[in-house]
Amino acid sequence: MTRSADVVVIGGGIVGAACTYYLARAGVDVHLVERQFIASGTSRACDSLTLLWDKSPGPELILGRASTALWAGLVEELDEPFEYHRRGTVLLAEDEAGLEAGRQTAAAMQAQGIRAEPLAQADLLKLEPALSPDLAGGVFFPDDAQIDARRAALALVAAARRQGATVHQGAAVTGIRRRGEEIAGVTTQAGDFATHRVVCAAGVWSNSLARLVNLDLPIRPRKGHILVTARAPGFIHHPLLEGGYVSTVQTAAEGVQVALVAEQTPAGTILLGSSREFAGFDRSVSLTVVQAIARRALRFLPGLAQVPAIRSYAGLRPWSPDHLPLIGPVEAVPGFYLATGHEGSGISLAPVTGRLIADWIVNPNRVMPAAAAVRPDRFELRPRTDKPTNH
């Protein structure tokens, strides 16, 4: 059976869910096709932060702020709760140099009108008594929030359905059909779709889909581990990130980078991260990385020593070479849109991504100027001309 659709969104992660929601809200007949189930990819193996201070002033921060505002609005718009809590986050500085760097970040954010409160040692400990008393200080960013990406993806999809979207789970895309250069349809394990527009939001797997239309994307899986503790209610009050976190994001190193990220879920468990490494598509847990995370956590939060660890997991961030996502049309393949490459900011940037995709498809004139910085064509995406060889 072939169904027809205005738009087919591939991938039911947080990004694909947001695209589906904003397209449905714009009145588009949209079908979401997901290989397994909603949030079965990276969006269930991550932290839950929407940060602003990790984004560079300019287009990235503009998109980040737009997205933060959209998330706050979605709390009312979607009828299902997704554990949204705007508690702010705290940047931690181990020493004087780190604190100085933190102050600079704070000043840069303040210059953009984003609240930031530098904290001396005593203030930091008053805010978070569980922290090691030898830290130099920190910065409090009150506008950051926490969001359960799984619940958020499910809530977006449920709301999209109510607006007329159709969701197909267990529907892996195996082919993208074309007539000439243009998209003509999508083949999935759950049937075929006739469509002229495809949004590829398949996270780290986006490349295998782009290859179906002869494109090579510069996306690589950047693995991250998380260690989960038993419930310890009230152990920390805000998500904590060591100042070195941003440099582990920016580095091009292949080996494992570890910087503390600690956040408490509403259930009371503490998620401890984070690591970054290029290790292919392997999602198995490496003990050495988990151990490194545990040590880093104890450095900042010594009281965790006797708290039980109950589980660990690893997820794959869709990394892009300039640390910015790929959002928008690809000129060389008319009808093919990308919404991927968000690396460690997919949760943060999901709503603005969905909005941009809906604008690109429904009303390109409305696309905000900052979106130019994330257009996929900055990587000069061209179809491969080499004919596939027969093996």
Partner: protein, 461 residues
């Protein structure tokens, strides 16, 4: 770092028989158990003169007695929380320890399956095995008016234990019908030991005037902060409670048991292939005749490889020890084959019995479907209700993984050990898909909760 030729995880009948056999074959062995003393489920606590002692129990006790002189290194109160290839990561009260072993036998046993129903989280509601352990190992009576309910022969064994300790249960409710038990007559052929054991249980029940009622189940537990009474109901031919048949019985303790689920975390973490085998209690690692899994050097023995009772656990432990000794080059293939032939007949008999045991113990799905409704908690650790689980299934969740993503099931302290098998059955009964399609919760370290300091430590002594 300590090194062992063979590390055995679990000191129940299977582990004990494995270490003693292996030591006799000249293998350097380490035996690990998280409990304070060896014995596993079956040999917990002291032997009582008044308890019916089976050949398996006598043999198990003999193994326990021989342990100190067998030249085996033992670690009690020691949890295996991770394994990578042949390296085991242990946690002991004194701290972490890493152990390299050329071969490993997983002998981690099985856990009980309890069905959820309204009120099942009230204090006073326990598993049948939990009551057995309290009484046998700790000499504590869980209450004054005890009811046992569920299915399978373990109910009878537990009732017998209570009778022997002077506190007959108020009743034993068996959810299956006598007809179902009759069908298995042939499989019990030649098992005179089993038959007379069962016969003695029934005699004891009759003498103590304990009602043994078929096709009846507990449908609700009542009480404000402790169990005060249960509502029971008759079940129709498919296992559904019949409305109008309810009876309220005042009790202060309830033991629930619907058979056992193999503990396969260790073999799953190690990457062994598993298959779904209802006749063995659920997901089990694929093993050959000497209990070798498809991961070289890793063996699985006892109930973690298939629920089959203590006698079968003893035999499979022995077979695994021979397999490990052969892997280590201590015995050759011919000796191994010869020995396995000797064990073969007894093992086949045990397996026929196991199939009966597991089939009779397994809960009727319509009963689960009728009881797991509304605000009955399914995942007790995270307080996820049946209604939330059912809604997620309605929205397309077909696997435990999908349910975990849509709700918080399986994310608590027990990591889905309790709710996993229940959830799989719920998905199956609500969608008509086979149970195995729901899969299992993926296992990641740590296997059991261990302090963060243990995870952080280098682990080398």
């Amino acid at each position: 770092m300590p090194f062992a030729e063979l590390a055995v995880v679990g000191a129940g009948p299977a582990g004990l028989s494995a270490v003693v056999t292996a030591a006799r074959l000249g293998v350097k062995v380490v035996l690990i158990d998280e409990y304070i003393q060896p014995g596993g489920q079956y040999l917990k606590g002291e032997a009582f003169a008044d308890t019916l002692s089976s050949p398996a129990e006598r043999q198990g006790r003999a193994l326990l007695r021989s342990l100190p002189s067998a030249g085996i290194t033992t670690y009690w109160q020691t949890v295996v929380w991770h394994s990578e290839k042949n390296r085991l990561h242990l946690h002991r009260p004194q701290g972490p320890l890493t152990l390299d072993a050329a071969t490993v036998i997983a002998a981690t046993g099985a856990r009980e399956l309890a069905l959820p129903f309204p009120g099942w989280t009230l204090p006073g509601v326990m598993t049948v095995g939990g009551i057995q352990v309290l009484v046998k190992a700790h000499r504590v009576l869980p209450g004054q008016k005890i009811l046992l309910a569920g299915s399978g022969p373990l109910l009878l064994a537990a009732a017998y234990t209570l009778i022997s300790h002077g506190l007959p249960p108020v009743a034993v409710l068996e959810s299956s019908a006598p007809r179902q038990w009759m069908r298995f007559g042939p499989a019990l052929g030649g098992q005179t030991g089993r038959m007379s054991e069962g016969w003695r249980y029934l005699q004891a029940l009759r003498r103590a005037r304990v009602p043994y009622r078929f096709r009846r189940a507990v449908v609700r537990a009542l009480g404000s902060d402790h169990l005060e009474a249960v509502v029971t109901a008759r079940l129709d031919s498919r296992g559904r409670p019949v409305s109008g048949s309810e009876e309220t019985i005042p009790v202060d303790a309830l033991g629930i048991g619907f058979g056992f689920i193999p503990n396969v975390d260790l073999t799953q973490l190690a990457g062994c292939t598993h298959r779904y085998a209802p006749a063995l209690g659920g997901w089990v690692p694929l093993v050959n005749e000497h209990q070798a899994t498809d991961v070289p050097g890793l063996f699985a023995a006892g109930e973690c490889a298939g629920v089959a009772g203590a006698e079968a656990a003893l035999l499979s432990g022995e077979a695994a020890a021979w397999g490990a000794a052969c892997h280590l080059g201590r015995v050759d293939r011919q000796e191994l084959a010869h020995h396995l032939t000797r064990l073969k007949q007894a093992r086949q008999r045990q397996h026929r019995f196991a199939a009966v045991l597991n089939t009779l113990s397994s809960p009727p799905d319509p009963l689960l479907a009728a009881l797991a409704v509304g605000d009955v908690p399914i995942c007790r650790c995270e307080g996820v209700t049946a209604a939330a689980v059912r809604q997620a299934i309605d929205r397309g969740a077909r696997t435990l993984d999908a349910l975990k993503t849509a709700t918080r099931v399986g994310q608590g302290l027990c990591q889905g050990r309790t709710c996993g098998p229940i959830l799989a059955r719920l998905v199956a009964s609500q969608t008509g898909c086979p149970v195995e399609q729901a899969g299992f919760f993926r296992v990641r370290p740590p296997l059991k909760p261990v302090p963060l300091s243990t995870v952080a430590a280098e682990g080398v002594e």
